[in-house]
Structure formats: structure tokens, C-alpha cells
Symmetry: C2
DNA sequence: ATATAATGTTAGACTAATCTAATAAATTAA
DNA sequence: TTAATTTATTAGATTAGTCTAACATTATAT
């Protein structure tokens, strides 16, 4: 087990690499809100621990060991979030910050029990897959709501952002995971979208918001 | 809020001061398993933050501010322990180490919710009083089982030690908080004690163990 | 009352994690 | 293909928390 700081680097490298595969020192510095030389020296340390592969001026890549560590932390984060919602009755908009702390708790027993109480869940409150204890997670299509065309229908499966301000916004528009929606209108000018909910209510979303909502277009009725 | 390290110093100072009022640098060093100069410099820092009062070669005393901080941490520790037992179904012998980590979680919401789910409990799974959000806790008599005489009866109200090995020992002897017991025999030679449980079963305890069991002698029928 | 033991302090060094300033390499644009 | 820009590295400093070695103070025991 590394330090809390190391864990946060590993988690961020994993998150950034999901898109591209490789991560640059500058990206990581931006994400972690530290300066470049700070990241540079931490990366050297993680490289010496065989958690990342790194050669100067090349990108950073997690090793298998690094990936395993990352998935372990992500597993704890997501289990914690679901536990906070399902067992403790907190809102999906307020659990991320607490999970940022709980993900560093070192106790197999604690997390095994959470997993058990939740009946080995596959997804967190934001629709993100929860890695199992071997790091395997269920696949999911991640189509952005902003990529749908007028007339199309879909089910909200996840959100690409855990921040309170974003989720408060969705709460205000009464959008939740699992909701069936259809696209009434898509503005060419600014990409904003008008949806119809199952309740027949109409909601307008800016492109910024829509692109962070992930949907499944299978008519899973 | 101080750092995790500072919080651990504050908690230990509080614990040690419960008996004596004043705490010596050496005691604290022993408890925290660090060397004297380490404590010396940390104490200077805590003094500059007005968390302790300290003059060289005198004892360390928590200020009001320090006491408030200490009680806040103890509150979180004990709420966490009870939550782990009552809501998560863990054993009283395995919760202390997890609570050592959870006590540093910084989230009013998390702890308010635990408090609420447990219905504002007064005591933790080891019988220790839980400070309320103002730092007030219920008084309790703390008579040690080793101070009772032959023939006396009492109810186990608390244990003076949270460690797994000790609690595993009590589990093996089937002793629990709330159990009514009576003293059958007290050996003068080594202070060991033989008890009778309500189930009529007899158990022998060494002095070492008996002195860590706290009882209430009121014949609370 | 002095020696011995126990306890506490100071000085100086180390590691982890951070920073700023200076420099170097790689990329992009003119 | 040189210049400008972006990106990364090195050097050196800082803070938190720890250590060892040397010294100082206080308490205790002849
Ligand atoms: Mn999250
Ligand atoms: Mn999430
Ligand atoms: Mn405890
Ligand atoms: Mn306890």
C-alpha cells in the first residue's frame, strides 16, 4: 500500500488514461492541482516502485501492478458511494466527497462487509461500474446524451461527473439514473437539447450538461 | 482542523490526561511510539496553536480548544465503532482499528447521519460514553471488576481496552457488556478471580483481565 | 549534599511532498 | 529551418514529521 498521496496520483493516472492510454505530466499536474516538478518527481518515485512505466518526455503508463492498485481504490470509492446512498440514505450529490476520504480506508473487512450488505453491486450511484475484488467490471455502452438525434429515445445509465454542483443541477431538473427519456429538440446553434421525461414533463439541457449524461439507446422495455 | 498526526497527538493527550490531568512528554512518546524529541517539537507546535498549554519541564495540558478538538475526535471514533457493530454487523473486537481510520474522516454530514441512524446513542460497543456534538457525555461509575470482593454481584458496563486480542479473550470466555456476574472466588496470591455468569457457568479471569473490565455494582435487577 | 537516574531539550539530519526559478527538449508555426 | 510555444526536467528551497546524539534539568537515592 502506498501513501494517500500516491494513491491519489495512481487514481488520477488511471482516470486520465481511460481516454488516451498515455498520460502527460502536465495533464496530471492540472488534474491534481500541483506544479509540474511535483508530478515529475512523484512519477519517478512511482516508476521506481514499478507502478508506472515512464521515460523522460514520454507519457506515463500504469503497469499491471499500478492498474491493480488503481482498480482497488476505485472499487473502494464506488462501494463507499453506493453504501452511503443505499444504507445511509445520503443523496447521490453528496457522497463523492465523503468517498474521496473513505477510499483510503485500509480494511479488507470493512469493504468486504459493504460489498456483502449491498449484495455485490455492479454499479455505483452515478452509474459507474464497480470493479470486483479481481478488478473486473461490467462493460457498459457509454453514449453521450448529446450524441442522440431528435426523436431518439434512451435510458439514462450514468453521469460522467460526480460533482455536487452538477448533480444538484440534475436533481433540479428531476433527472435520475434509470429514467427513460426522448429527444424532442436539438438546437443547432448551441447544442442545447429539449427532452421529454416519462412523466411527459419537458426539460431543456445545455450541451455542457447533456454531454455529461450517458445513455443506453436499446429500447430496453 | 489539524493534520491526522496532530489529531492523534490530541487524542492521546486527552486519553492520558483522564487519570492525572497533566501528561508528560515521555508518556506521550511511549503511547504514540515516537521518540522524545519528536513529541517535544510537536508539543511546541500545538502550544503555538493554543491547543495545549506547555512550559518546558512542566506537564502538557489541553486548553479548552484542545479539549473540544479531542472530544470531537473521540465522538467520531465511538460513533464509528457503534455504527460498524449495529449497522454493519461487525464484531466489537474488530471495529477499533477501522474506527482509528474513520475518526479522521472530515464530514459533518457523515457523522450526523450515523448519529441519527443510531438514534443519538450514549455509549459505544465497549461501553465508553459517546460525547454529543457539544462534547458532553453521560457520566458512569467506573469500578474495576478486580476491586470487587467475594460474594459481590455486578453488571459489566464497559471494557477499559479496545484491542482485538483482549476482546477475543472476552469472547472466548463469553463475557459481554450488560452481563450480570457475581464473584465466587478471589485468589490472594495472584489476584485472579472466578466469576459466575447468569447462565450459571463459571469463568476464571486473571487480574490483568479483570482490572480491564468495568462494572456497575448497583443491583440494577 | 552529592551522585545517579530519569526526564526533557537542542542541534542537526532525513524523507515525503510540495514550491519557484532556471534550463532543456519537443512541437508547432512562420 | 529557424523562431516561438508548449511541455518537461533539474536545482535548490520549504514544511511536516520523524530520527540520533549530545547536553540540560529535575527527581531520587545513597
Ligand atoms: Mn465519486
Ligand atoms: Mn461515482
Ligand atoms: Mn476504540
Ligand atoms: Mn470503543
Amino acid at each position: 500500500m502506498g501513501s494517500l498521496t500516491e494513491e491519489n496520483y495512481i487514481k488520477s493516472i488511471y482516470a486520465l488514461s481511460q481516454a488516451t492510454g498515455e498520460v502527460f505530466v502536465s495533464e496530471l499536474a492540472r488534474k491534481l492541482e500541483v506544479k509540474l516538478p511535483t508530478v515529475n518527481s512523484m512519477i519517478k518515485k512511482l516508476a521506481s516502485k514499478k507502478i508506472v512505466a515512464y521515460a523522460p518526455y514520454q507519457g506515463i503508463k500504469l503497469t499491471e501492478k499500478g492498474k491493480r492498485e488503481a482498480l482497488g481504490i476505485i472499487r473502494k470509492h464506488r462501494l463507499a458511494e453506493l453504501f452511503l446512498v443505499k444504507v445511509m440514505g445520503l443523496g447521490w450529490e453528496e457522497v463523492h466527497d465523503i468517498a474521496e476520504q473513505l477510499e483510503h480506508v485500509n480494511s479488507t473487512r470493512f469493504y468486504a462487509r459493504i460489498d456483502e450488505l449491498l449484495n455485490y453491486p455492479g454499479f455505483d450511484p452515478h452509474g459507474e461500474p464497480i470493479p470486483d475484488s479481481n478488478g473486473k467490471m461490467q462493460l457498459q455502452k457509454r453514449t453521450s446524451l448529446s450524441d442522440l438525434d431528435e426523436g431518439e429515445a434512451a435510458t439514462i445509465t450514468a453521469v460522467a461527473n460526480d460533482e455536487k454542483t452538477f448533480l444538484d443541477h440534475l436533481n433540479a431538473k428531476s433527472l435520475q439514473i434509470g429514467d427513460r427519456i426522448s429527444i424532442l429538440k436539438k438546437e443547432l446553434f448551441d447544442g442545447s437539447i429539449t427532452l421529454q421525461l416519462k412523466s411527459k414533463k419537458e426539460v431543456m439541457l445545455t450541451h455542457q450538461v447533456a454531454e455529461r449524461i450517458l445513455v443506453d439507446t436499446l429500447n430496453s422495455k
